[in-house]
């Protein structure tokens, strides 16, 4: 029995490490290759030993598909391809291919340069890994090999996020990754064909209901920022360069416009500025409204949001600053934080998850006295806010395989002659009667063709063997043979209304292809012998006729 097997290698019960192995129609596909932000050890990456204990990744996997650029979906990619070793194709969309290496590099810098982790992938490995990437268009049918095809659909989760259909023959799986069903500030809604997959693998979903609660959180966020700015405070929003940052920028930009606020908004130069460029250049991936108006006004050319210079941090008066990195563990966001932490008018908003050990994590867990380098103690008087737009997802445990039996139909070629013949018959008045199709399936190697039996015989150079029956039916009838034939004819004509009954000039009677001849009996002149003759193909009718004639003829109405 064919089957589809699904084995999660990564995602546990919380966010991160999305990595799912799917076996379908003899093909093995890995969906996403995420890492877990919360771990610093082996648990950080998915467990590829599930595959490697039986051989090389490249031999086992037919392809890898990355749904979007979030690190919990692509963070383990360089480790997987360069350190464990995989040389096959990695498919992702163009925006994902553009942004993914930047986030990986960012992540690597934090892990290696700031935290000093050893045995981590290098910048070169990221580059080498990206060389294995094949970019796909939305709706493009990518033929991975002769049998395996994949197709990307718009998922609307982040720029370039896609859902994938994986198809082998008539079996298919749809993997959604993260997706959004309603358009948001900068992205459109997910969309997919009615593709009737055998299996749908869906991850954390931002369904409509969740989006509503997201709206509430957005309002909450704006309110907090607004209050802080109104009382003259400075607001720090540590972010990672892509995704959340753009969403919040658009949110604040429109709010500033609407409320006619004057306080400056800055974003730290470098990554975020670069990231906004990506949004501008990949505007076709954003929602309808942004795409339609981009010539007049590009949503990602912010009017109120300007590039940040480190000197601005000391400017008097209120301001809002987006700064990287998102967990306050280093860099500009940490510098600004140290400057502003002492003032209770100020505020820091953490829009995402923070890893243990980072300043972000410490302040979120309520710590207000932080030990900085040089035994210096920083007292945090500023307001600390946390907002998560993230919803966690639930998955079967890692390494546990779900098996789904399938029963694919078998596609074969049918000769048009045969098909048309049968379809023409199907058009008869009573369409409810099931139409039987009779033919011969010729199987030669992997080439399957269904043809009419005549054609099959001809193609194979075989002659047809005619099987014919002739039955003698004795009738009591003293009249002449010709008259008997006439009686047989009129009897059959009246009884068999649906058949073509004919009386031929030579005296014989035919019913369709069945031939009936009357002959004199050699001994008994009062008996006539009816010779009923038919071929094997008309056996039903022939045998029916003989039994009919055996019952005798009705007395002629003379």
């Amino acid at each position: 029995m064919p089957e589809i097997r699904v084995t999660p290698l990564g995602a546990g019960q919380d966010v991160g490490r999305s990595c799912i192995l799917v076996s379908i129609g003899g093909k093995n596909v890995m969906l996403d290759c995420g890492m877990h932000m919360g771990f610093n050890d082996d648990r950080r990456f998915p467990d590829f030993s599930y595959i490697t204990r039986n051989g090389r990744l490249t031999d086992f996997l037919d392809c890898v598909i990355i749904s979007h650029f979030h690190l919990d979906h692509c963070g383990a990619l360089p480790y997987f391809s360069e350190m464990v070793g995989y040389d096959g194709p990695i498919y992702m969309t163009h925006p994902t291919q553009a942004i993914c290496p930047i986030l990986l590099e960012d992540y690597r810098k934090i892990a290696v340069d700031k935290k000093g982790e050893a045995n981590f992938f290098t910048s070169q490995m990221i580059k080498d890994c990206m060389k294995k990437v094949v970019a796909v268009h939305l709706h493009q049918t990518v033929q991975v090999d002769d049998e395996l095809e994949i197709k990307a659909y718009y998922a609307g989760h982040v720029l370039g996020a896609a859902m994938f259909q994986i198809k082998v023959g008539s079996e298919s799986v749809v993997y959604t990754g993260d997706y959004n069903m309603t358009p948001d500030r900068h992205l459109g809604a997910a969309w997919i064909d009615k593709c009737r997959p055998n299996l749908l693998i869906t991850e954390s979903t931002y369904a409509t209901t969740i989006r509503d609660s997201k709206r509430c959180r957005e309002r909450d966020f704006l309110k907090k920022v607004h209050e802080a700015v109104e009382r003259g405070g400075k607001v720090l929003i540590p972010v990672f360069a892509l995704g959340r940052a753009q969403e919040l920028c658009i949110l604040l930009e429109t709010f500033w416009e609407r409320m006619n606020l004057k306080a400056p908004i800055y974003f730290s130069t470098g990554l975020t500025e670069k990231a906004n460029h990506y949004y501008k250049l990949f505007i076709t991936w954003t929602n309808q409204k942004i795409r339609k108006t981009f010539v007049q006004r590009n949503m990602f050319e912010f009017k109120h949001i300007k590039a940040f210079d480190r000197a601005f941090a000391d400017n008097p008066g209120p301001m809002v600053v987006f700064a990287t990195p998102g967990m306050l563990h280093a860099g500009q966001s940490l510098q600004i934080f140290r400057k502003w932490a002492g003032n209770e008018k100020n505020m820091v908003i953490m829009p995402g998850y923070c890893v243990q050990g980072t300043v972000g994590h410490k302040i979120l867990s309520g710590q207000r006295k932080l030990e900085m380098e040089g035994r210096q103690v920083l007292e945090v008087k500023m307001q600390v806010e946390y907002m998560s737009f993230r919803v966690s997802c639930y998955m079967p445990a890692n390494g546990e395989t779900v098996t789904l039996p399938t029963s694919p139909s078998i596609p074969v070629g049918i000769s048009l002659g045969l098909l048309k013949r049968e379809m023409a018959q199907g058009l008869l008045p009573d369409a409810k009667k099931p139409r039987l199709l009779h033919g011969t399936l010729i199987m030669k190697d992997s080439n399957f063709r269904l043809v009419s039996s005549e054609q099959a015989l001809k193609e194979l150079g075989l002659a047809e063997h005619q099987l014919r029956f002739t039955c003698r039916v004795h009738l009591h009838d003293p009249r002449k043979e010709q008259e008997t034939a006439v009686r047989v004819y009129s009897h059959l004509k009246s009884v068999l209304k649906e058949h073509c009954v004919q009386h031929l000039p030579d005296g014989s009677v035919t019913v369709e292809s069945i031939l009936i001849q009357a002959a004199a009996h050699s001994e008994d002149p009062g008996t006539k012998v009816l010779l009923v003759s038919w071929t094997y193909q008309d056996e039903e009718l022939g045998s029916h006729l003989t039994s009919l004639l055996k019952k005798g003829l009705p007395q002629a109405a003379s």
Binding site: H137, K280, L281, M443, S453, L462, R472, Y536
Partner: protein
Amino acid sequence: MLDCGLDMTSTLNFLPLPLVQSPRLSNLPGWSLKDGNAFLDKELKECSGHVFVDSVPEFCLPETELIDLSTVDVILISNYHCMMALPYITEHTGFTGTVYATEPTVQIGRLLMEELVNFIERVPKAQSASLWKNKDIQRLLPSPLKDAVEVSTWRRCYTMQEVNSALSKIQLVGYSQKIELFGAVQVTPLSSGYALGSSNWIIQSHYEKVSYVSGSSLLTTHPQPMDQASLKNSDVLVLTGLTQIPTANPDGMVGEFCSNLALTVRNGGNVLVPCYPSGVIYDLLECLYQYIDSAGLSNIPFYFISPVANSSLEFSQIFAEWLCHNKQTKVYLPEPPFPHAELIQTNKLKHYPSLHGDFSSDFRQPCVVFTGHPSLRFGDVVHFMELWGKSSLNTVIFTEPDFSYLEALAPYQPLAMKCIYCPIDTRLNFIQVSKLLKEVQPLHVVCPEQYTQPPPAQSHRMDLMIDCQPPAMSYRRAEVLALPFKRRYEKIEIMPELADSLVPMEIKPGISLATVSAVLHTKDNKHVLQPPPRPTQPTGGKKRKRASDDIPDCKVLKPLLSGSIPVEQFVQALEKVSAFKYPSSSSLFSLEQHGFSDIKVEDTAKGHIVLLQEAETLIQIEEDSTHIICDNDEMLRVRLRDLVLKFLQKF
């Protein structure tokens, strides 16, 4: 329907539409017949020996008489130049189908249409000439008006409302996307390398494949390279949209363009480049970007004037996925893929919706102006022709190949301005075609008649035609051509339950056969075979039916037979008890429980006759036939039949 292009060369027969009243054009003398009859002088004007229609320009539509367009289900668009007639077709013919095109094709196509509508609508012309179109009058006119075809079907430009409505009927598709049409065929656009989003199309069923190659380029310019591999294994390849200037090398032309431009500007003259608002202009701007500093032209202003100039420049930057690899890599950095972004930033290139407004205050000479329309019959270009035509310092450089530059210039004669012809047409030339055909190897090539013979002006150039084996089949306007293939097979799905029940037998090494009797279901052109329904058990207790009802409702077709009966084995089987186990109650022939003991075999010319004497039964066995002649004993007949069938193969 493949493509929906508009023949705009018809506009060359009309007088230009000046943006500002032109005394020269409005004072042209009316044309009169040789006999002095001047009844047409309101409609036709004479200029330097040419006669022009003084009217709103009109376009020559695709053939709409030959077929009922309401029966067209689908229109496939190959590039933005090939969709300009769409509003005429989708809005006024009863067409209710779907149009398929890529996103850049639609966006840029919209810009081209918008520009066209704008050019024509902003200079309303009261006069609409129609007298000259009368067949009897047209005969009397001088060439080329006399020879213009289908003038009665020429139409004025559509409106923006019609454009929007037409474009709303387009379904966006991506390269290599497989689109199912009614379950019968699949269509797929492939990159054709000619323009942003330009496509070739594959139209295929499961067993036949037609490729439509229209407007393709093998040169490396800004669009994604042409996808050749997917065109392989075509039964028929329809080839059109080859280069209009097979003798001009686009690279050389670009070089000439740059040097002529530099020369004119250095001498203090202005350069006018009549062009479309998208396409080659991106490449020209890119060349100039690299060229201007080295040529010392940094201070010369470049103006791009079109109602859609800004949109065109902006749109070009957002189609990263449709661009060549180099440009894609730039987007990944992230940088704008086209350098005209930098030209705009540094104020070297300025764009304006029209020459009214900001342009007139910014305008500095000498300068270079890119503007439309390349036919020189409408758009801002008309103004610049009038303005600069009198000075020999100025140059007009023709880069678009769609219009004959001499015809385009005719209503501006006499002209002092220099005219340079540098047509840049990146589409396939005949050398590239033969390379492509060698690579792709279609069984048949179908193309317009013009490609099967050398151009009339260069009839000795046997290299300027398609050369392939078998020779290309050609078509021409209003001619019906049957494509040379016969459909033999279609796909059918065998449901798994039915597949399980099939019993294949190996007939020859490697070839197996299985007889299939199944129920055929056809829905949306998809065929499925399901197992036949189980025969319903005849209910014995029922009221006796009339004889005619006894015929089975659902006729089970008997298979064909093949093989031959080995007589000796057949007789042995007849003699065996096991072959004839009668239910004891039903048989008259109790003897047969022990097999037939009185079998006689006679040889005949063609075979044998087996005689069962007591049963008065005769079996004629020949190489390819068996004939059982017996009394009316159904039981016996069935038993004999089953025995015969054992020796034969069923199909």
